[in-house]
C-alpha cells in the first residue's frame, strides 16, 4: 500500500488515499471504508518526474492520482514503458524517424528545385506577355526611343538569331537609359539592355550579351526563375496577368548556374552561326570580372566564374574563320546614339 493524493475531478479537494497495484488494475482505499478499482486500460501518465508521478483517467476529466516517486516501478509494471518522443516516433525509434523526416524534407526541397524546370516549358508564352509588357511600360520614361537606334538594336538581334523578332512569340528588345551595366530577359520574351551595355561596348560584344539573353528566353529560364523564386503561386498570377512583383525584382531574378552555362553555350553557338567574332564578348566578360564589383555584381551574379566563361567564348575563336562585323557602320552608329535624344526629365 502506497499513500497517495487523489483529485476526483468533481471538486478541487485533495483526498488522501492508499493505493495497491494489482494485475491490470489499481485499487484505491480511504479510511472511511471507501474503495475503488481502476483498470490499467483507463489510466494514463500525465507527468512523471523523479519525485512524483501523476496519473489521469481517460473516462474522468480532472481525475488525478498523485503518487510518490517510489511507485515508479509499480507504475511501469502496470502501464508499460513511458511514451518518450510521441507515439509515432516511439513506434519506429528516434533515429529511423529522424531519417524519414530528413528524407521527406530533402525530397520536398529537391522537388521545389527541379519542378520549375519541368513546368516552365509548358507555361504558354502568352501568359507572360502582359507581365513583361507591364514591366517595360514601368520603365516608360527611361526607354530610349530613337527610331534608327531601335531598328539597329532589332537588326542586331536578328543578326544573332535570325527570325527571333518575328511571330507572335517574337523577342521584343528595348534600350533603357539606366546608368548601370546590365541586360536582362523579362517574362514574355522581352529583353532590356541598359545604356552602358550599348555605349561602353562594341556591337560584337553586345551581340554576345544579346545571344546569351535570347537563350534565356528561348529555354524559358525566365519562367523557371519566376517559379523558383516566387513559388508556384506565380503561375496563377501569371495567368491573371499580374505578377505581384515589381520591375526591380524581376530584373534581379537569378538563374541557376546550369541555366547560365547553358545560355553561354547557346550564345557561343549563335555567334558561330552568325559568323561573329567571339573575342570581344570574351574580352567584355574579362573586363567585367576585373571591374569594381558594384558595376559588375548584377550581371555576374550567380554566373559561372567569369574567367571561365570568358575562356568559353575565347576558345570558340577560329583563326581560319572570316568573321563579319555584327552591324554595318551606319547601324552601329545609330545604335550608339539610341539614347541620345532621350532625356528622362522632359
Amino acid at each position: 500500500m502506497i499513500a497517495a493524493k487523489l483529485y476526483d475531478g468533481v471538486t478541487a479537494h485533495p483526498h488522501d488515499v492508499r493505493v495497491a497495484f494489482g494485475h491490470q488494475c489499481l485499487t484505491l482505499e480511504q479510511d472511511g471504508g471507501w474503495s475503488d478499482s481502476v483498470e490499467a486500460a483507463q489510466l494514463k501518465r500525465i507527468e512523471v518526474s523523479r519525485a512524483s508521478i501523476r496519473l489521469g483517467r481517460s473516462d474522468t476529466p480532472g481525475w488525478r492520482l498523485l503518487l510518490p516517486g517510489e511507485a515508479a516501478e509499480d507504475v511501469r509494471t502496470l502501464l508499460g514503458r513511458e511514451e518518450r518522443y510521441g507515439r509515432w516516433i516511439d513506434r519506429v525509434g528516434l533515429i529511423p524517424a529522424l531519417a524519414v523526416g530528413a528524407a521527406v524534407t530533402a525530397s520536398v526541397v529537391a522537388f521545389g528545385y527541379v519542378a520549375p524546370a519541368w513546368i516552365a516549358p509548358h507555361v504558354p508564352m502568352s501568359w507572360e506577355r502582359n507581365v513583361g509588357g507591364a514591366i517595360v511600360a514601368d520603365f516608360g520614361e527611361l526607354r530610349c526611343r530613337d527610331g534608327k537606334g531601335q531598328q539597329a538594336l532589332e537588326a542586331l538581334v536578328e543578326r544573332v538569331s535570325p527570325g527571333a523578332t518575328k511571330g507572335p512569340n517574337g523577342i521584343k528588345v528595348a534600350a533603357l537609359d539606366v546608368p548601370m551595366f546590365n541586360a536582362a530577359a523579362l517574362p514574355g520574351g522581352y529583353i532590356v539592355v541598359f545604356k552602358p551595355a550599348i555605349t561602353e561596348t562594341d556591337p560584337e560584344a553586345l551581340a554576345g550579351v544579346l545571344a546569351h539573353e535570347i537563350a534565356h528566353v528561348r529555354r524559358r529560364h525566365v519562367t523557371e526563375a519566376l517559379l523558383r523564386e516566387l513559388g508556384i503561386g506565380a503561375l496563377i498570377r501569371l495567368f491573371s496577368g499580374t505578377i505581384g512583383a515589381n520591375a526591380e525584382q524581376i530584373v534581379a531574378l537569378s538563374y541557376t548556374r546550369s541555366n547560365e552555362a547553358q545560355a553561354d553555350s547557346d550564345a557561343v553557338r549563335s555567334l558561330q552561326q552568325a559568323n561573329i567574332d567571339p573575342r570581344p564578348t570574351a574580352a567584355l566578360f574579362q573586363r567585367l570580372a576585373k571591374e569594381a564589383p558594384e558595376f559588375s555584381a548584377q550581371f555576374l551574379q550567380s554566373h559561372p566564374a567569369s574567367g571561365q566563361r570568358a575562356q568559353k567564348f575565347a576558345a570558340s575563336f577560329d583563326r581560319r574563320e572570316q568573321y563579319q562585323p555584327a552591324l554595318s557602320r551606319d547601324d552601329a552608329d545609330a545604335l550608339f546614339d539610341i539614347c541620345r535624344n532621350h532625356s528622362p526629365h522632359q
Partner: protein, 323 residues
C-alpha cells in the same frame, strides 16, 4: 508543422513546473488541436486572401480604384474583428486547458460580441489618434476577463484608466519634448555662430538633430512600455477570482530587462536562443504574479463550461497574446 506539437510540449513543461499554492498547474492542450485550429484559420482566411490577391489588382487595372480600396478597407475591418475574436478565444482556450487540483477554467461566451466591442473600441481609439486608448484598453480587459471562469468561480475585472492617463500622455509628450529641445539647442548654436560660420559646428548641429531623432524613435517604444508596465500592474490588481486577488509587480525596467535579455540571448546564440524565450517570458510572468486570498477547495467544483475543440489558431495567425 512540428511547431504546434512543440508549443504543446513547451506549455506542458512550463505549466507542470509552476506551483500555485500547494500543487502545480497542468496543461492538457495538444499539438493536434492546435494544428486543427491552424487549419480552420487557413480555411477561413485563404478565400479572403485569394479574393484580395485577384480582385484587387483586377479592379485597379480596370480603373476602379475606389472599389479596390473600399474592398481593402472592408478587409481590414474584418481583420480587426477577427483579431479581437482571436484574443478572446486564445484566452478561453488557454483557461480551458489549464488544470489545477483536477479543475479547469473556461468560458461559455463564444466571443463574437467581444470581437464587435473590440472593433468599436479600436475604431474609437484610432479616430482620436490613440489618445483614447487607455480607456478603451481597460474596458476591453474587463469585458474579456468578466466572461472567463475557473471551476464555478467567475473572474471579475474592474479596471479603470485612472492614473494611467498621464503615463499614456508621456508617449506623446516625451518625443515631442525631445524634438523641441533638439531644435532649440540646434538653433541656439546656429544663432550664436552667426552667418558664414565654420562648417564644422554646423556638422555637429546636424549630428545633434540626428541623435535626437533616434532618441525620439527610442522614446516612443520606451514610453509605451512604461505605460504597459503600469497597465498590467493595475489590471492584475483590478481582477479577482472568487475570493482570490491578484497582483503583478513588474516595473518598466524589469520589462525592459526581459526584452533586452531576449534580444541579447538571440544575438549571442545566433538565433538559437529564441527557443528559450518561451521559458523566459513565462517565468517572468510567474515570478511577478502574486495570488492573494483564500480558496475553499471543496467548493471549487468542476467547470461546466464548454471546452472548445479547436485551439487558438486565430491568435496564432494574428500573432496576439492571450492575456
Amino acid at each position: 508543422m512540428y511547431r504546434f506539437w512543440a508549443t504543446a510540449r513547451q506549455r506542458r513543461y512550463l505549466w507542470s513546473r509552476t506551483h500555485v499554492i500547494d500543487d502545480c498547474l497542468e496543461w492538457t492542450g495538444t499539438g493536434k488541436e492546435m494544428f486543427l485550429g491552424f487549419l480552420i484559420v487557413i480555411a477561413i482566411l485563404a478565400p479572403f486572401l485569394l479574393f484580395i490577391q485577384f480582385v484587387f489588382p483586377a479592379l485597379l487595372a480596370r480603373g476602379k480604384a475606389e472599389a479596390a480600396f473600399g474592398l481593402i478597407f472592408l478587409f481590414e475591418i474584418a481583420l480587426i474583428y477577427l483579431g479581437g475574436f482571436a484574443r478572446f478565444r486564445a484566452l478561453r482556450y488557454r483557461l480551458s486547458r489549464s488544470w489545477w487540483h483536477g479543475i479547469r477554467g473556461g468560458s461559455d461566451d463564444p466571443g463574437w460580441n467581444y470581437a464587435g466591442e473590440y472593433l468599436g473600441r479600436i475604431f474609437l481609439a484610432a479616430v482620436t489618434v490613440w489618445i483614447a486608448w487607455p480607456g478603451q484598453a481597460t474596458h476591453l480587459w474587463n469585458s474579456r476577463w468578466d466572461a472567463m471562469s475557473f471551476g464555478p468561480l467567475e473572474f471579475r475585472a474592474e479596471l479603470d484608466s485612472e492614473g494611467l492617463g498621464w503615463r499614456w500622455a508621456l508617449v506623446y509628450l516625451v518625443p515631442i519634448g525631445l524634438l523641441i529641445a533638439a531644435a532649440v539647442l540646434a538653433f541656439g548654436i546656429i544663432g550664436s555662430l552667426g552667418a558664414g560660420a565654420d562648417p564644422l559646428p554646423r556638422a555637429s548641429i546636424a549630428a545633434i538633430i540626428g541623435l535626437m531623432f533616434v532618441v525620439a524613435y527610442v522614446a516612443i517604444p520606451l514610453m509605451t512600455l512604461n505605460w504597459y508596465a503600469a497597465y498590467f500592474r493595475k489590471a492584475a490588481e483590478a481582477t479577482t477570482l472568487g475570493e482570490i486577488g491578484f497582483g503583478f509587480d513588474a516595473t518598466t525596467m524589469q520589462w525592459l530587462g526581459l526584452f533586452l535579455g531576449n534580444l541579447g540571448l538571440a544575438i549571442v546564440t545566433l538565433g538559437f536562443g529564441i527557443t528559450y524565450w518561451g521559458y523566459r517570458n513565462w517565468s517572468f510572468m510567474v515570478r511577478h504574479l502574486h495570488i492573494y486570498g483564500s480558496i475553499d477547495v471543496s467548493k471549487l467544483t468542476q467547470s461546466t463550461t464548454h471546452a472548445p475543440r479547436e485551439a487558438e489558431g486565430f491568435a496564432d495567425a494574428f500573432d496576439v497574446g492571450a492575456i
